[in-house]
Structure formats: C-alpha cells, structure tokens
C-alpha cells in the first residue's frame, strides 16, 4: 500500500475513535512537554553561564605565559627539568611570531599594576589594567555610563563604579581609611546617584606609577640612585647574572631603573560590572586604560620584581603575559597546541570549563531521564490504545487480509497510526513545553525584578531541542506500536472471518 493511502486509512481509523486517541495523544503531549520543559531549563541554565563567558569574549581568548610562570601546573615537566632548560622569554619577537599564527586576530600584553590614583586632591591606592579595543564588545560595556576609549593610546580612563563611588565619597568615610586595591569594598559602598557618576565623566584623574627604564650597566655590583626629570627619584634595581655569588663576568649584568611618573587621564566611562565577567586578573581592576597607552607607559609591574630576582635577566622588557584572541572558540585548542609547541605555557577558559560542561551534560542527562518518565507512561498509553484498537478491529484486519493486504501492510498501518499520535503529540508537547518555559521565565523575571536584578532567560528552547523532542516522541510512539502491529499482523484471517 502506498504511503498516502496508509496515511489516509490511519487518519480515518484515528478519527473513528477520536476521543480515546485524543486522550492518548494528549498523554504523549504531556510527556514531551515534561521532557522539553526539563531540558529547556537545563539549556537555559547552561546558556546563562556559557553565554556570559561567550559574550565576554573569554571563550576565544588564550593567556600565554613563559614556561617558568606555569611551573606549578606542569609538575612532571619540572621534575624532568624540561622547563629549566627550555624557558623562552615572552618578548616582542615572541609576540610577533604569535601574531602571525593562523586564526589569531589579536595579541596584546597583560598590563596590570598596583598604584596610586589622585582625584581632586585625594589619592587612592588601586589596581589599574590595560584593556584592548576588542573589550568594547564585552557585555560590561553595554550599559556603561559614558563611552569606551576613543583610541588605543588615548589618555583616557574607565572606572569601575565602586572606585568611582570611592572617588566621590567624603574624605572621612571608612572606605578611605582602608582602601582596597581591588574587588568590592568590604565596608560597603557610599550612596552615589547616577547624576553624580555622570558628573565624573570628562574630569581628570592622575595616575602615579613607576616607569621601568633601562640604565647602562653599573661598574659595581651594588645599587645606586638616579634622578629623572628632576621630580621623580627612585631606587634602582640591578641584577647580576651567573651564579649567586656574582663571580661571573660583568657583561651579563643588566640594570634598569624604576622612575616615578605621573599621567593625567580623562574619565570617559564608568562600568557597573567587571569586564571579562570578572574572571581574569585584569578584570578585577578598578581603573582601566587603553592597552596601547598602558604599554607606552612601561610601568613597573609585579613581574618587574621577578625580573630583578631571576638568574638571567633581560635588558629588554619581557611581558608577564600575552593575551591571544582567536577568531572562533573552535580554534582555541589548535592555537594552544601551537603556542605550546613554541615553548610557552597557555591557559584558556575552555580548559577551565571542561569540567563545568561535563557537569551540565550530567545535569541534562538526569533532567532528560526525569522528563522522559512521563513520555514512557504516555508510550504505555499508546500500546494500550493500539492493542484495544487491534481487538476492536479484528474483523477489519481479517477483511483487509482477505482482500490482499500483506502482514507488512497491516503492520505499517498500525505503525502509521502510532507515528501520527507521536507526531501530533510531539508537536503539541513542544508547544506546551514552550508555554511552560515562558511561564517559568515570566515568573522568574518578576522575582528578579523584585530583587532589583537584571532580566534573565532561565528556560531556553533551542531548535535542536524542538526537533529532537518531536523525533523522540515519534521514535517512542513507533516503539510502542511494535507489539500491537505485530499482534495485528499475526491475526489469522480465516479464524477472524469465521467467528467475527
């Protein structure tokens, strides 16, 4: 029998016992709705976490460090001595080499310093970081006061709102007594209105920092002082190469000065949330400036001290870390492999979220199992309905066989009936599941709004889930149809026509 004839006959049969079949189909719909609601909740929760990372650009970002910096993570290599011998400096040459790797779209250094910032006669100690132009796509900047940097080297600053509040706070607030370099203030933040924050835009802050400046090799293996610009004076750090005793030749000795500098920066923006979802070290800073400008300042960073202490210091400035952005998260792993091949250590959020994704897979699996219970019950309903149908239609089956229907034709007829119930039930179930999801989203957002929290999509119904749920419903229905269809096909037409 042709498919359209099978569909027509199946449709006719389903309409004949319309109420019973509608109830069975409703059972399938409830089962699918339960499955869809569960899985879309899982998808929504996963989306809440991963989308934030994805929007922050962290999924296609790789941190690059010298092998020495990552020793703690590579214990086996340290034991084998590989790191000691193969340590490669993270310098300009390496940066250029990384920049031409396939799929790399941006390479910039991580610049982060702890320093003083002055504003209208007050000085606060805080953490300052450079931000790349690509950070503008970061969700942290979606609802900022003001704007992003006008250029990669503009003398501009973006403040975190906590720091902006500190700047505006009266001098006698507890915040002044115990300034924190980063993170939320333990003592609470002073009440500041949006208008006051907006008033900060366009005003200047002064950044006090130490500039790292190379000096000629000293003739003595002792420190000395230097004066720069007549206004800044600082200690000079010098390191000697070779053995700790300093007995090696003087040509391996490298010196550099750390000179006190000031830089005036115009406040152009104030952000409420941390860039990069607050995950990276630089994101936890309270003042941000363009990374191009930050580089030009040659600030002494935490790594400067390490350069002083290391056995073989470099005259040129090495980067403490480089941030590499690739065009797609799928290219993170091959790029990491290439970077490792160049002798560097790498870190990406994909590494860190592997276990998180595994957790979500397990959660989704359990949600699917719980959601499927209702569908299993519904499938028993299909079996029951079709078995009843076989019993009621024994004579019809016998007549069909007498007229030339094969066992396969009879089986197909019942499979199509089961499939139609599965398809209709699946489609209705997806619709019902979507409505349940909308209701959950609606209720959740009312609660979030009452808590003064931003709108979130808690339940998400992706296309794959719609297609998968309908396909699953059809598959379960067809499985449910196996027994009734086989039972119908086994009917002996001679017996049936004789006694029915």
């Amino acid at each position: 029998m042709k498919v359209n004839d099978l569909l027509e006959l199946a449709g006719r049969n389903l309409r004949e016992s319309g109420f019973r079949n509608a109830l069975t189909t409703a059972g399938v719909a409830v089962g699918v709705a339960s499955l869809v609601a569960m899985l879309s909740l899982g998808a929504g929760l996963q989306g809440l976490v991963t989308d934030r990372f994805a929007r922050s650009g962290l999924f296609n970002t790789i941190g690059v460090f010298t092998a020495r910096d990552m020793r703690g993570m590579e214990r086996s290599e340290r034991r084998s001595g590989v790191l000691e011998s193969n340590t490669r400096p993270l310098d300009d040459a390496a940066r250029k080499e990384i920049n031409v790797l396939p799929h790399v779209i941006e390479v910039y250094p991580e610049v982060r310093l702890l320093t003083d910032v002055s504003f209208e006669g007050r000085t606060l100690f805080t953490s300052v970081s450079g931000l790349s132009p690509s950070a503008n796509q970061n969700e942290a900047f979606e609802k900022m006061h003001g704007r992003f940097f006008s250029g990669p080297e503009a003398a501009e600053a973006i403040l975190h709102v906590d720091f902006a509040r500190d700047l505006l706070a009266p001098a006698n607030t507890p915040g002044d007594a115990f300034p924190l370099p980063m993170g939320p203030r333990a003592g609470g933040t002073p009440d500041v209105t949006d208008a006051q924050l907006d008033a900060l835009l366009g005003k200047e802050i002064v950044l006090h920092y130490g500039e790292r400046e190379p000096t000629p090799p000293p003739t003595e293996a002792r420190t000395h002082t230097a004066s720069r610009s007549g206004r800044a004076q600082n200690a000079v750090a010098r390191s000697t190469g070779g053995d700790p005793g300093g007995a090696d030749s003087a040509d391996e000795t490298v010196s550099f000065s750390v000179v006190r500098r000031e830089r005036h920066l115009r406040i152009v923006g104030i952000v409420d949330t941390e860039p990069y979802a607050g995950i990276t070290a630089s994101a936890a800073s309270r003042v941000f400036l363009p990374v191009g400008l930050a580089e030009k300042l040659h600030p002494a960073q935490a790594s400067t001290l390490r350069d002083i202490m290391q056995a073989k210091p470099s005259a040129s400035e090495n980067y403490s870390a480089l941030i590499v952005r690739v065009d797609d998260p799928a290219h993170v792993q091959p790029t990491q492999d290439a970077l490792k091949g160049m002798g560097f250590r790498t870190f990406s959020l994909l590494d860190a979220t592997k276990s998180l994704r595994r957790v979500f897979v397990i959660v989704d699996l359990f949600l699917a199992i719980f959601g499927s219970v209702a569908l299993v019950v519904a499938s028993l309903g299909i079996v029951n309905t079709l078995v009843m149908s076989v019993l009621e239609r024994r004579r019809e089956i016998g007549v069909l066989k007498a007229l030339g229907a094969s066992d396969t034709d009879v089986k197909r007829l019942f499979f199509v009936e089961a499939g139609v119930m599965g398809t209709v039930g699946g489609a209705l179930g997806v619709l019902l599941g979507w409505l349940i999801g909308r209701a959950i989203n609606f209720g959740t957002n009312i609660y979030l709004a009452n808590q003064d929290l931003p709108h979130e999509t808690v339940v998400l119904l992706p296309l794959w889930l719609i297609a998968g749920a309908v396909a699953f419903a059809i598959a379960v229905s067809l499985l449910s149809g196996i027994y009734p269809a086989a039972r119908a096909a086994r009917l002996d037409p001679v017996q049936v026509l004789r006694y029915e």
Partner: protein
C-alpha cells in the same frame, strides 16, 4: 497439469491435506483431496458442516496453506508461496465473497469497493472509474455514497461482489453467498454471479449447503465428506445425488 484445451487449469489440487493439531489430537479438515477446475467453469462444493468445503475454499483463496499436497491456481503452487506472494494472489488472482458480506461499516460503498485497488497500489485517478464500473455492474452506482448499514442484505452482498470484482480477478470464490439472504435476494445474487461468469468468463467456485442452489447454478458439483472428495459430477448424476 494442463486443462483440456492445453491451458493450465484454473485450479488443480493434488492430494491436499489440511490438518490441525488441537492438544494431543489431530483434526483432519482435509485429507487427500484431488480435483481440477477448468477456466470459466462454475463449480459448486457441497457437503455437511465440517466436511471441509470452506477449508478448501480458504486454501484456494490463499488465506491458508495446505499441510501437504499441491494446490495450484493457473499453474502456480500456493503451497510453496511466501506470505507476500499469497497476498499478491489474493489481490490479483482471486476475488472472495462471504456469507456475512464483511463490508467495513465505517466506509461508504465506494470506499469499500476501492479498498482492493488501494492494496494493489492502483493510481488514484484510475480508481474512481473502476469503482464506478464495478458498482454499475452490480446495479449499485446510485448508492455509492451510502454506508453498508443503510443497505439491505441483498444490496450489501452485491456491494461485496463489486468489491471482489474491482481488481478483475480470474477466479471468484463464494462462501455461502446466499446464507444470510432470503430466497428472493439469494436468487438475485446467484443470477448476478451467473451473469458475471457468462460475461467475464470468470471461474466461479461456490460453497453452499443449499442443494437446489448448487444444482441450478453449477456446471459441476463436488461433494465433500469428512475432509475427502466423496463424489463429483454434473447436477443430476446419480453418484452425486446419492451423496448430497
């Protein structure tokens, strides 16, 4: 074995047995039946209840298989056919009518008659014409949209004959076709079957327990008794008359 004119017999049975096992005992519904039915012949099978005539008809229809022996229709042995081949035999070679009509009550006459065409995968556009032809042949063209419950017994049996004819089979198998009808309607149905045999040259095998009907309709009568062919001959033959 070919028929008298060199063409294969419409039906040929050779030592056909159909045994049923019921617990420890074996019921021999048919026990070594051999017979031949020629093309376009009208044959009536008569016998007491349980003599095996309906069982033999079901074997000829391909609804059942012989336990042993050979049963051929137009030269093809039904005993060795696969289930799919038997289904094709039921669709194309034979048409069946039953005592209880067995029309599907939820379908109109038109839809009932169309069923064998659906099973044979006849294109939709050709079906309407063939259904109309079949209904016209049995005089029910005007009742095509009616359901079986809206018709008399005689009309229902005529509709069942239209359904059996629509695939243009070469053999018509009729199992007590007048059993549920009054004598007037019964005669009408037999006249219709007779005319189909005459006009379409269909082979007709009729199972009946009505001796008068068998005598007036059939060219040859087969008498079955206890699963065996007890006698055969033309109506009026003493051997047949003795056993009827």
């Amino acid at each position: 074995m070919p028929g008298g004119n060199g063409t294969p017999n419409a039906i040929r049975a050779e030592n056909v047995c159909r045994h049923y096992t019921m617990g420890d005992s074996v019921v021999k519904a048919l026990d070594g039946v051999s017979l031949e039915v020629q093309e376009s012949e009208r044959v009536a099978m008569v016998g007491a209840s349980g003599s095996g005539k309906s069982t033999l008809l079901h074997l000829m229809a391909g609804l059942d298989r012989p336990t042993s022996g050979t049963l051929e229709t137009r030269g093809r042995n039904l005993a060795v056919m696969s289930p799919e081949e038997l289904a094709a035999h039921r669709r194309g070679t034979v048409g069946m009518i039953f005592q209880a009509f067995h029309l599907l009550p939820r379908m109109t006459l038109e839809e009932n008659v169309e069923l064998p065409l659906r099973l044979s995968e006849v294109p939709r556009e050709a079906r309407a014409l063939r259904v109309r032809e079949a209904l016209e042949r049995v005089g029910l063209a005007g009742r095509a949209a009616h359901r079986p419950g809206e018709l008399s017994g005689g009309e229902q049996q005529r509709a069942a004959i239209a359904r059996a004819l629509v695939n243009r089979p070469s053999i018509l198998l009729a199992d007590e076709p007048t059993g549920n009808l009054d004598s007037h309607n019964g005669e009408e149905i037999m006249r219709l079957i007779y005319s189909l045999n005459e006009s379409l040259h269909m082979t007709v095998v009729l199972v009946t327990h009505e001796q008068r009907l068998a005598a007036s309709f059939a060219e040859r009568i087969l008498v079955l008794s206890d699963g065996r062919l007890a006698a055969e001959g033309r109506p009026g033959d003493p051997a047949v008359e003795a056993l009827r």
